[in-house]
Amino acid sequence: MIDINVWTGYWNTLFVKGDVETVRRTVQAYGVEQIFMAPLDAAWCPDPHLYNEVVYKASDRYDDIFPVPIIDPTLPNWQKELNRAAACTEVRLIKLLPGYGGYDLSETDDFFTSVCEAKLGVMIQVRIDDPRHQHPLAQAPDVPASSIAAVAERNPDVTIIIGGASTSTIHALKEQLITLPNLHADTSQLDGLDAIKILVEDSLLPKLIYGSHAPLFMPASSIARILNDLDDESAMKIMRGNGERILNYDF
């Protein structure tokens, strides 16, 4: 199994056990064999690149951890950070947090040109936590998923994964997800009755990749939304096959 959306670190509004070892054990307990891990503390840091070392080191220690560095395309040193990611064979995916960096995705075309040359996939996170539950003095709005689809449309050779979007958001992007071969979505914040079942009936099965959002969310819940409503074959496409196909495209 591949978990495309795992974090390590700590969060201001939740009491999570976010050290690398505990998070690794937690997701392994639910059968995950490839852990795509991003640094959670980076979200609120003015220079999120400072925290990428945490996941590079974790990957050095554990073969099943694939670092997902967070890059801010508005920082002057983004190219250097991107080069570092491209030079690391374990990095297949980088992550953008526009809601926390406070930038507009429409202003990142140079960055995506370089990402394309680096042959890396990009997860763009819609939300980390529910705005209703954020700290009153530390709020980050959701990133419009339509702006992520627009990035995919402008950069057809870059694999783009929408991270942390709701079921209704993904449902509303159905046409773009089907039309754009480079656009995908993780399952980490899909909820509601029959959530994934309905998206699969919408022909979105090839576009969904399993993500737990651990340690913020419980992996058991993340697995249940898939396994309880799908047969083995469909479930394994989301939990392994799609991720292999999308992320190992150049390996």
Partner: protein, 273 residues
Amino acid sequence: MTISSLRKQILPDGLVLDIHVHPVHCFGPYTVASVKEDVQRLTASARRSGVTKMCVFSLCPSTPYEPTPDQCGEANDYVLAMRDKAPEIFIPFCYVTPAYPDEAVAEIDRCVRGAQMAGIKLWVARRATDPGLDPIMVQAVQLDVPVLQHAWLKTTGNLPGESTPCDVAELARRHPDARIIMAHLNGAGFRGIEAIVDVPNVVIDTSGGDPESSMVEAAVARLGPDRVVYGSDAPIRHFGVSINKVIGAEIPVEVKRAILWDNAAGLLKMDTR
């Protein structure tokens, strides 16, 4: 790990009573043409996730924040019809609005005394501090049924009539003989748990919000294992996602069973097991 063992890991190993479910006709995701279809949709999904029984309350198809007494009556007729279709699964609660206390009392009399509904549901028409709730609570005590009160603590601001956990605590202190279920553990959060620690006639349901780590553990640690009951808020939330807030929590297995069935069954005074 095989996929079959993984499936077993995320399913409950015993009975599950979901204290907080709405009909599909309130919140989708399907457009249902009949009570029968609603029952089928909810039941099929619930069974896949291991739910045995569910307390169901309608908030009317248009979910108005200020429902009229007539709308409440229609909502209650709907869940009574659901029980008629599947009495072994659905336990209806009576939805009333404290904006119309006299009508609410009459509706409770019709639905609880007359039609044996098992509880009362209060949503966002008035905060729990409003005196309009008092006759409702008095009648709940007389009829010996619990009251499930919506609560949330929103950074983005509550609705004018939306109760905070502190409001619910105040209600419970005004009516110490009432049995109150405060809805939405993940909406109430850590501060919400603390608000009711010293109010023993309030239990909290695990419904609402995302499956955030450590919340169920925090509720059990601060309130004790007897004051937490499982709820999903389906169809807004997924039954399996919600159940696994409990199954996946780092708490003893007997506490998980209490949350998933025993505590709610006790609250409803059901003959169980």
